[in-house]
């Protein structure tokens, strides 16, 4: 009898310990690695947090490896500085004078269309009638392109800088993509106005 009792107690201890172990096996931290120095890069990795201390100076603000481009530098390839300002006057100027650099052979709705679907349709709707998913839910209501007094230049200005409650899409689309999307919006407007 007494022996049995002891066994009971032992089982309980084991059980409690098991529960303890299982609870430790959480997914909230990464697993062990065999040779971490083979896994972790010597150079900085994208998005890495890097605590770099050079002679007492913290090099990276917030220890953030990601940097902005140096002032005055431009990326290679598909880039032209945009001269028009983010002001009401700039908007009016773009509306009146800014023309698309793409000629009719370069305009490709097969390029602009899918990009529009990714970045704009969520608010403006697939056809630009202002009935995107978020608009249907009354969360963001942009209105239909048919209502708007827009030209290819003002569309580009809007994509580049945003307008009022609409944000800028300049960091998600590069220059030629922006023009392709603008052309596509102009086409949607033309279709709506029909």
């Amino acid at each position: 009898m007494h022996i049995n009792m002891k066994i009971d107690a032992k089982y309980t201890v084991v059980l409690v310990m098991l529960v303890g172990f299982i609870s430790c096996q959480e997914n909230a931290r990464p697993n062990y690695q065999y040779m971490p120095n083979m896994y972790e890069s010597v150079g900085y990795e994208t998005y890495q947090e890097a605590d770099v201390d050079v002679e007492g100076n913290q090099i990276f603000e917030y220890d953030m490896e990601a940097r902005l481009p140096v002032d005055g530098t431009i990326p290679r390839g598909d880039f032209m500085p945009f001269e028009i300002d983010n002001t009401v006057e700039g908007y009016e100027e773009a509306k009146a004078n800014l023309k698309s650099p793409l000629d009719s052979t370069q305009v490709d709705y097969e390029v602009g269309g899918p990009l529009y679907t990714i970045y704009c349709a969520i608010c403006h709707g697939i056809k630009g009638a202002g009935d995107g998913t978020l608009a249907k839910k009354d969360l963001i209501i942009p209105g239909s392109y048919a209502e708007k007094d827009i030209t290819i230049g003002s569309i580009y200005h809007t994509i580049y800088y945003g307008k009022n409650s609409m944000g800028s899409y300049a960091n998600q689309l590069n220059e030629s993509e922006r023009w392709q999307v603008a052309e596509y919006v102009a086409k949607l407007k033309a279709d709506l106005d029909k």
Binding site: A28, N31, Y32, Y47, I122, K137, E147, G167, N174
Partner: protein, 446 residues
């Protein structure tokens, strides 16, 4: 659609015609219109029709005005009474403002100038096409009382984010305590029973002393051998399993600084993955969106719907609205003035997927060139409340997929020639990624 409007148009007034054109798509308006046409004779200019007003408001005003909070322009709930009481402005003024606010400002109207300056000289669109009747409809809509919110109770103790880890810990601790108590109780009961038995002089029958089972077992050498082998195999299996999973982070699910839910964004609201992870189209990394991308929407969405909020609290123990406030704090957005304060602090998202340094993986090649769905590798992201690593990301996993997947040659001139040659060489119609060289060490290892 157009035909049926044609007939309406004939017996409506000129400005109504424009209204019709502006709202071709809106079904509600369509209904509203029929209503309006039916009642238009009986309506005076002062009484508006809120149903038509709502439709007009949605198409014209909602992109800048919310009813109950400031957006690009001021909140418009009860604007007419507000302006009348606070500024002594009448309907006349409102009509003039809506039809041409710029004109009113230029004419030097003091309140117009003041509010224009207050809103950082943001120009309100002119609406010359709206009739006085339209405007009174809109004002009737804005004068409707605010619908009672569904009260979402926030129980005290619900913390934003990371709350679930804590609560499961507490649960486990409670369980362990319960076990300990049970064990203690058992011991006590047994002891008291025994004491009773002793006092009453009852002999607890003691089992006959034969050979106990374990002794019999030890004496049987064959059984011992089999058991030992069994245990060795079993432990070898577990040890192998343990060593093989070292370095694999499948299921890794860290607690993020903002409880950001893919279920709500990519699932319920159907936002395209590439809207946020935009560099997946064009580069090696898929990228975590910078916060300005979040603000494209969250400038306008300061709170989740009441139902979403209630669901978040009851099912996930998260106060969603508090999470959006965290986002505002990080970007330094002041929702009351609708302006950035300039005080920012970065959000330190915890990286989940991370290949070792010696392996190379490129998103654009898989996403744009091969057209592989994100879900193939990242699992049912649109159902994940909290992001976790779905695939093991082992070399075997990569290689398996390369063996099984045909390459996508459609519209890809780069592949045309080499595909022709190689498919002849291997005698197959469709090459797999492996046959295109997807097993060569140098493709994935620097």
């Amino acid at each position: 659609m157009k035909k049926s409007y044609q007939s309406l148009e004939d017996n409506s007034t000129n400005n109504m015609k424009q209204v019709i054109y502006r709202n071709l798509t809106s079904k509600i308006l369509y209904l509203g219109f029929i209503l309006l046409l039916t009642f238009s004779t009986s309506l005076t200019a002062q009484e508006g029709d809120p149903v038509n007003g709502k439709a007009l408001y949605r198409t014209n005003c909602a992109s800048c005005h919310k009813l109950d909070s400031r957006m690009t322009g001021p909140a418009l709930r009860n604007v007419e009474t507000r302006l009348a009481e606070e500024e002594g402005l009448d309907r006349e003024w409102i009509n003039a403002w809506i039809k041409n606010s710029a004109g009113l400002i230029r004419s030097g109207d003091p309140y117009a100038v003041k509010i224009y300056a207050e809103y950082n000289q943001t120009a309100m669109t002119a609406f010359p096409q709206l009739s006085n009747q339209d405007i009174s409809d809109i004002l009737a809509y804005t004068a409707e009382p605010k619908p009672e919110p569904v009260v979402a109770e926030v129980p005290t103790g619900v913390q934003g984010g990371g709350g679930d880890g804590l609560s499961s810990d507490i649960m486990l601790a409670a369980l362990a305590l319960l076990f300990a108590l049970l064990a203690g109780a058992l011991v006590l009961v047994n002891r008291t029973l025994k004491r009773f038995a002793d006092e009453k002089g009852i002999e607890v029958p003691v089992k006959e002393k034969g050979t106990p089972i374990w002794k019999a077992f030890v004496q049987n050498q064959f059984l011992v051998l089999v058991t030992v082998i069994f245990f060795l195999l079993a432990s070898a299996y577990f040890v192998y399993g343990f060593f093989m999973q070292v370095g694999i982070d499948q299921g890794y699910e860290p607690v993020q600084p903002i409880h950001y839910s893919h279920r709500i964004h990519a699932g319920e609201n159907g936002i395209d993955c590439k809207y946020c992870h935009s560099s997946a189209r064009v580069s090696k990394h898929s990228g975590i969106p910078s916060l300005n991308v979040c603000m494209n929407c969250h400038k306008s969405i300061a709170q989740v719907g009441d139902e979403t909020q209630a669901e978040g609290i009851s099912e996930y123990g998260v106060d969603y609205n508090a999470q959006i406030q965290k986002l505002y704090k990080a970007v330094g957005w002041d929702a009351t003035t609708q302006q950035y304060t300039g005080e920012t602090s970065p959000v330190k998202w915890i990286r989940i997927h991370n290949l070792p340094d010696f392996a190379y993986f490129n998103h654009s090649q898989h996403v744009s060139v091969a057209g592989v769905e994100c879900q193939t590798c990242h699992g049912p992201v649109e159902e994940m409340e909290v992001m976790y690593q779905y695939a093991p990301l082992t070399m075997g996993w990569c290689i398996n997929c390369h063996r099984e997947t045909n390459i996508n040659v459609k519209d890809n001139e780069y592949y045309t020639k080499i595909h022709e040659e190689l498919s002849k060489k291997y005698g197959v119609e469709q090459l797999t990624a492996a046959q295109m060289g997807g097993l060569e060490c140098g493709k994935c290892h620097y």
